[in-house]
């Protein structure tokens, strides 16, 4: 209760203090999310370029041009395909690893630590590492395969001395998906581990006394109970991956030809490197309604699956 005899002090005002605490988050969202988003919309409906930054309204012209563009369509399709394929593997591996890491075994702490590293490493740094691993001439993987007789003259995989991880269309796509899975699995695993350890021990003890063995407990008790959390993990990694450009930018620049070109990279290449800000903005905005619908759908699924 404020003392009426004293002059009003701003920190006594609940609304003011509340706003003060919210301010850092609000400023961050407005400045670094809200403003760029509105700017992208403004750019998308204008004819702005790097050379001419006047915003004059041109309606849907950019979006029509982008949609007519064959490269864009292919990029859009590639992005969806990469995202979906990698999510399947991420979910599979994250589930298996989360189950392993919630069991008791010696060296668990160290195994967890090693495992979390891909996620803790800065993306660009990790990608430079992979760039070396997958190098066309000096790839250590190729070297090992060569030494073991899988490559080279008379080799099982190829007569050549190299597999061209990032240069052949099929392998480049597989490599990009593999690296994405490698990068995203740790986070999904950590989220699932949190879910698994939040299951009350009483429930698991009960299942054991009821005679349930490992697989039944896993499939009928544990997985259904962490379903909502699994959906959140999936949503997280899907949205991150859908908008990502770093991986392909470092590894392939979208090549060979357009085989690994994804939306984030294409938007960057057209808008920044090509100087056509308006078209670049329009390209990235195509992802927005799709991601929004996906997010709404998954969050509703999660809250419906929520029991308790």
């Amino acid at each position: 209760m404020a003392n009426l005899a004293l002059p009003a002090f701003p920190l006594d005002n609940r609304r003011f203090v509340g706003l003060l605490f919210l301010a850092p988050a609000l400023i961050y969202i407005l400045l670094l999310v809200g403003f760029p988003f509105l700017l992208a919309i403004a750019f998308g409906f204008s004819d702005v370029t790097v050379g001419n930054t006047d915003l004059s309204f041109v309606g849907l012209r950019n979006f029509e041009a982008v949609w007519e563009n064959d490269i864009f369509r292919q990029v859009f399709e590639t992005t969806i395909r990469f995202t979906l394929i990698s999510q399947v593997f991420i979910l599979l591996f994250a589930n298996i690893l989360a189950i392993i890491f919630t069991q008791e075994f010696t060296g668990k702490w160290f195994a967890r630590f090693i495992f979390i590293l891909p996620w803790a490493t800065p993306v660009s740094l990790a990608m430079i590492g992979w760039l070396w691993m997958l190098d066309t001439k000096y790839s250590p993987i190729d070297y090992l395969l060569l030494q073991t007789g899988f490559l080279g003259p008379g080799g099982l995989l190829s007569k050549d001395r190299n597999l061209f991880w990032l240069a052949s269309p099929d392998l480049a796509q597989i490599s990009v998906i593999f690296v994405q899975v490698w990068r995203m699995t740790p986070l999904a695993t950590v989220i699932l581990m949190a879910g698994l350890s939040s299951i009350p021990t009483d429930i698991l003890d009960q299942a054991e006394v009821d005679g349930s063995r490992f697989m039944r407990t896993l499939l009928q008790i544990k997985l259904p109970l962490i379903l909502p959390i699994m959906v959140i993990a999936l949503l997280f990694s899907m949205i991150t991956m859908f908008g990502d450009m770093t991986v392909v930018y470092v590894l392939t620049r979208g090549g060979p030809v357009d085989y690994t070109r994804v939306l984030g990279l294409y938007s960057f290449q057209v808008g920044i490197e090509g100087g056509n800000l308006a078209q670049g903005a329009a390209i990235s905005l195509f992802a927005f309604p799709l991601l929004l619908a996906m997010a709404i759908f998954m969050l509703r699924t999660a809250s419906r699956a929520e029991v308790r």
């Binding site: 009350p200 003890d205 009960q206 299942a207 009821d210 005679g211 349930s212 039944r216 109970l225 029991v307």
Partner: protein
């Protein structure tokens, strides 16, 4: 031979001796209550019987077979947890059917026999109209019945219950206690019931095992435990308010507040011990008057008396009275070990 035999059972968690050498035999069809304060090892003992905890040493056999190294599903036991541990994503039918399905191969259940068993058990516990509901749509009492149905549906040799009534509100609890006892009687199942609530223990148990600090203090019928405590711990743990305990030279002696009555009410004064009692405060509790005061010469130890309201003796505060305890109601304990000692020779020494 007893259904369950437990010998020199121990469970150490690092330096904590949760269960420290327990020997216990449980008879077929009996309702055994394990009673003790929290942290006394009663839940750990039960979890070892269930097979959820591996003993540090000792042996457990059920139905003549050594089960010490066997997992829970090979022991023929089932369990009801304090939280009921219902599977929140399954309806009541699937909850009850879960143990049957988990053991369908060993026990050769099929879809039809599972349905029949679930429905019969649900009918027995009067929850057959709830089979389609989810646990969160049930009241506390209904959840408890579902948990018991799930534990009973496999017809286990031993039913283990870990404080299953403590989540119910007080009104429901007395009723649930009565129903549980009826159910155990009619199904003739062997039940082991863990609790820290002495009223539950007294009301339900054919026999009570009193535990403290990982050890069994006494095993006996509710009456034996209450009237004939083996040591100071059992004497003071049971009864509300607890037994008055006064120190003498080399021993302590105790008497229950309800045995400590005004001398005028005593019909056999030759066999009673008389105390000069200063009444400090009187609480009127409806059926009883709870009297707080001091025995002359022992003013450092608060002594309580519980006088029935229907005896017409006026008790004024800050006044002196003569109170008496029947000799047979005086219990003597060794001052150091706390063990009960024979009364005759000590009664004189008072």
């Amino acid at each position: 031979m007893s259904l369950v035999q437990i010998s020199s059972l121990k469970k150490y968690f690092d330096t904590v001796h949760a269960v420290d050498g327990v020997d216990l035999e449980i008879e077929q069809g009996e309702f055994l209550v394990i009673l003790g304060p929290s942290g006394c090892g009663k839940t750990t003992l039960m979890r070892m019987i269930a097979g959820l905890e591996k003993p540090t040493a000792g042996q457990i056999s059920i139905g003549g077979a050594d089960v010490t190294a066997l997992p829970p599903r090979k022991r023929g036991v089932s369990m009801v947890f304090q939280s009921y541990a219902l599977y929140p994503h399954m309806n009541v039918f699937n909850n009850i059917a879960f143990p049957l399905r988990a053991q369908r191969r060993e026990k050769k259940y099929n879809k039809r026999s599972i349905r029949e068993k679930v429905e019969t058990t649900a009918g027995l516990l009067e929850i057959d109209m709830l089979l389609d509901r989810r646990p969160r749509q049930l009241s506390g009492g209904q959840r408890q019945r579902v948990a018991i149905a799930r534990a009973m549906v496999t017809q286990p040799a031993v039913l283990l219950l870990d404080e299953p009534l403590s989540n119910l509100d007080a009104k429901l609890r007395a009723n649930a206690r009565d129903e549980l006892k009826d159910f155990q009687r009619s199904s003739n199942i062997t039940a082991v019931f863990v609790t820290h609530d002495q009223i539950e223990a007294m009301g339900l148990g054919d026999r009570i095992v009193v535990m403290s600090e990982g050890k069994i203090q006494q095993i006996g019928t509710p009456q034996q435990i209450y009237d004939d405590p083996a040591n100071e711990f059992v004497a003071t743990f049971l009864g509300s308010p607890s037994m008055n305990m006064l120190s003498s030279n080399h021993f302590k002696f105790g008497f229950r507040p309800e045995h400590f009555l005004p001398k005028t009410l005593n019909d056999n004064p030759e066999n009673a011990r008389i105390f000069h009692y200063y009444v400090k405060r009187v609480e009127y509790l409806g059926s009883d008057r709870l009297v707080y005061g001091y025995v002359q010469g022992r003013e450092s130890e608060l002594t309580l008396a519980k006088v029935p309201s229907n005896v017409r003796v006026s008790l004024d505060v800050e006044s002196d009275y003569e109170f008496a305890v029947h000799n047979s109601d005086l219990k003597f304990f060794d001052a150091r070990s706390g063990l009960r000692i024979a009364e005759q020779n000590l009664a004189e020494a008072l």
